[in-house]
């Protein structure tokens, strides 16, 4: 009797191998979450920094690295108000240095967003579907590209996704209010970073309002909204206090006045950038990725999309996000969402739609392990092939762009594939349709943007590793300028253009006269300054110039120009940045003006 009882107990106890296997099974999806950002960078062959082809991204780097200097010298613009962008850049650079800080911040943001998405998806799906969702997000070129620069999107996009994830994650009796506060804080962080992010509020709020009404929980919904608003206030107060730590005491209105003025004049500012709808629809194939995912969500989930379950609500949000962006595009006079970086926010759609789609296919008796594998594999292969394709890939995209019927055929077949994944009788056919669907969506999403684009797949920078050296140089330059540049004794950048490596000049806001060279005029060599360049060189407060050029001869050319203007140049420092590719010379300007 005693013997048999012992034997039974031994058979119930897990063996060492079982414990290990169980631990691996528990840990493996989390390892995927931790490695997903790296997988995205490798498979999309993404440069870690993508700043040189763009201007606006440098404003935030500059403010992050020299906030006190920039506010004193330049004052408050709408981009100064974006404290949820500027403060993380500042803190990361101070803690780890510019490049390491940038990389650690990106990894932390992407991993945290992935972890929250994983936990949100786990509320309705198995661990591997949740892990695959995080991997698919990392493989989404919209998402990865918007993370890999200092422009506002590196905060708005992860905060939008994380905010929505936390909203659903917190929808449990124990965490309803705390979850809503955290969700409100994250979404507010996105909105403070860029007001356009507020599009998430109707996209998340409308389906949730309907869900609350259907389940007769409207008072609870209102309470959660109030809690979310509290989270928004907490972030604002924290941002104000942090700015005070940098700047000393200042009126709280400074934190939002410029943004409100900017929003009031938004339509006027946007007017010159307006594009006809037909042109947008015909020549930007990249915009069709999110609508295709929405179509697949509707077709595959069918009636289940209208339920009140967490999965249905998550899928409703995914569809609503792209719908709201398209509604905004057609209903408002704004050029903003037409730009690839603003439209890229629709990565939120794929982030939440794909797990719902994969889970639904599992319910429809498709082996979920195969479905997950095939979705990830198809996306990864297309990402890698297209990004490795270089000029050949852009030629194919150009062909599609200029042949609307080809584009129409691709979109139609993609819709048919979504329907195939939903309705084909044989599971193998469904899997094949799913693979082809994922491949086409990945391919379309990588299309170079025609409007303010760089003709690069996924809009990744063509400068590769140089970007990192340029970013480091921009930091050194900003620190050098911030040390000596004061309102009463200006140190202005003087370069022979604001493109290529000299694009780093944008950290010192050349459009706000932080540089001698005006971005509104054609580039001029330092030996032949334009009248406006001369005006700034002779301005009563100009005391020094930082001459910057990829051509060393340009530096020498600046000195005779200064003498011709009646000033005595005094070279205080010379050197190179970007591995010797960018020359600089700090020149004092003496003499009466």
């Amino acid at each position: 009797m005693l013997l048999s009882r012992t034997t039974t107990r031994q058979s119930l106890l897990p063996t060492e191998g079982t414990v290990l296997r169980s631990a691996i099974e528990r840990m493996a999806p989390w390892i995927v979450v931790l490695l997903a950002p790296l997988a995205g960078v490798v498979l999309l062959r993404a440069p870690l920094i993508n700043a040189l082809p763009n201007n606006d991204t440098w404003f935030y780097s500059g403010y992050g690295w020299a906030l006190a200097h920039h506010v004193e010298v330049f004052g408050w613009f709408y981009y100064t108000d974006r404290f949820t962008v500027i403060l993380p850049i500042s803190v990361a650079a101070k803690l780890f240095g510019p490049v390491a800080g940038y990389l650690i911040l990106r990894y932390a943001l992407m991993t945290a967003t992935g972890a929250l998405l994983y936990r949100c998806v786990r509320r309705f799906a198995v661990p591997w579907i949740a892990a695959a969702s995080v991997l698919l997000l990392a493989l989404d070129p919209y998402y990865l590209r918007l993370m890999l620069w200092d422009y506002t999107t590196f905060i708005t996009l992860p905060c939008t996704i994380a905010g929505a994830a936390v909203w659903y994650l917190g929808d449990t009796p124990r965490q309803r209010l705390a979850g809503a506060i955290a969700a409100g804080a994250l979404i507010a962080a996105a909105v403070y970073a860029n007001p356009l992010s507020a599009l998430v509020i109707p996209a998340l709020g409308a389906p949730e309002l309907v869900a609350a009404a259907r389940s007769r929980e409207l008072p609870l919904f209102v309470a959660r909204l109030a809690a979310a608003a509290t989270g928004a206030v907490i972030v604002f107060v924290a941002g104000y206090l942090a700015y005070m730590a940098y700047l000393g005491s200042f009126p709280v209105e400074d934190m939002y006045r410029a943004t409100l003025d900017f929003l009031k004049s938004g339509n006027q500012l946007a007017a010159p950038f307006q594009r006809p709808v037909s042109l947008w629809l015909k020549t930007e194939p990249r915009i069709y990725g999110p609508p295709l995912v929405c179509f697949a969500t509707v077709v595959i989930l069918g009636r289940r999309l209208l339920q009140n379950t967490i999965k249905a609500r998550v899928a409703q949000f995914a569809v609503a996000y792209t719908a709201v962006v398209w509604l905004y595009r057609f209903a408002f006079t704004s050029s903003i969402v037409e730009t690839w970086w603003a439209y890229g926010m629709t990565a939120s759609t794929a982030a939440f739609a794909m797990p719902a789609i994969l889970d639904e296919l599992a319910i429809k008796r498709v082996r979920w392990t195969v479905a997950v594998g095939i979705a990830v594999l198809a996306t990864a292969v297309v990402d890698l092939v297209v990004r490795s394709g270089g000029g050949a890939a852009t030629s194919v995209y150009d062909y599609v762009r200029f042949h609307p019927f080809v584009l129409l055929a691709i979109l139609t077949s993609c819709c048919a594939l979504a329907a195939g994944a939903a309705f084909a009788r044989a599971p193998r056919l469904r899997l094949a349709a799913l693979a082809a669907f994922c491949a086409i969506v990945a391919g379309i999403t990588l299309t170079p943007a025609r409007y303010i684009g760089t003709n690069q797949t996924g809009e990744f920078s063509p400068y590769g590793k140089t970007e990192i050296e340029a970013y480091d140089a921009a930091y050194d330059m900003t620190r050098l300028i911030a040390a000596d540049d004061r309102p009463q004794s200006r140190l202005l950048i003087w370069s022979d253009g604001l493109y290529g490596l000299t694009a780093i000049s944008w950290v010192n806001l050349p459009h706000q006269e932080g540089a001698i060279e005006s971005p509104e005029q054609p580039p001029t060599p330092t030996s032949q300054p334009s009248p406006s360049n001369i005006e700034l060189l002779l301005y009563p407060t100009t005391r020094r110039v930082l001459v910057l050029s990829q051509d060393a001869a340009e530096l020498a050319g600046a000195l005779p120009t200064v003498r011709r203007l009646g000033l005595q140049p005094h070279v205080e420092r010379v050197g190179t940045w970007v591995g010797g590719a960018l020359h600089y010379s700090l020149v004092g300007l003496h003499g009466t003006r």
Binding site: A68, F74, A238, A245, R486, Q488, G514, P540, T541
Partner: protein, 129 residues
């Protein structure tokens, strides 16, 4: 969720502590306003039309150029009175992007400046017409 709140609070405190290292700057905008106002008044007193046109706001310079048949300097030169000693400047008041420098010798006179980009420029003065 509580842990998240704690992490958030810790991050905010760390941010404040790190940010505090940026304190201690004294605002140089008053000094800049005085330099530009001084340059403007000196240029007017010494009939230096080029410097006057350099330190006034671009819209004002454009309107003067229109009035001067394409030359701001020509119009400004036409407004010069007999040479007089440059006025002494008094206290500076700054309100956002606007500044005003008083002239103690004459309570009704002042020099008004605007922050254009990152540069203070003269937009208003008793000499400008």
């Amino acid at each position: 969720m509580k842990r998240c709140c704690k992490i958030g609070a810790a991050a905010a405190i760390a941010g404040l502590a790190i940010g505090a290292s940026g304190c201690g700057r004294t605002d140089g905008n008053r000094a800049a306003v005085l330099i530009v106002a001084r340059a403007f008044l000196d240029a007017y007193a010494s009939h230096d039309a080029a410097t006057v046109c350099r330190v006034i706001t671009p819209p004002l310079a454009t309107s003067f150029a229109y009035a001067g048949g394409g030359s701001c300097e020509r119009h400004v030169a036409s407004t010069f009175a007999a040479r007089e000693a440059p006025a002494a400047l008094g206290p500076v008041t700054i309100d956002g992007g606007k500044a005003r420098v008083a002239v103690p010798a004459s309570p009704t006179r002042f020099v008004g400046l605007l922050h254009f980009g990152s540069i203070w420029r003269v937009t208003e003065s008793w000499q400008l017409r």
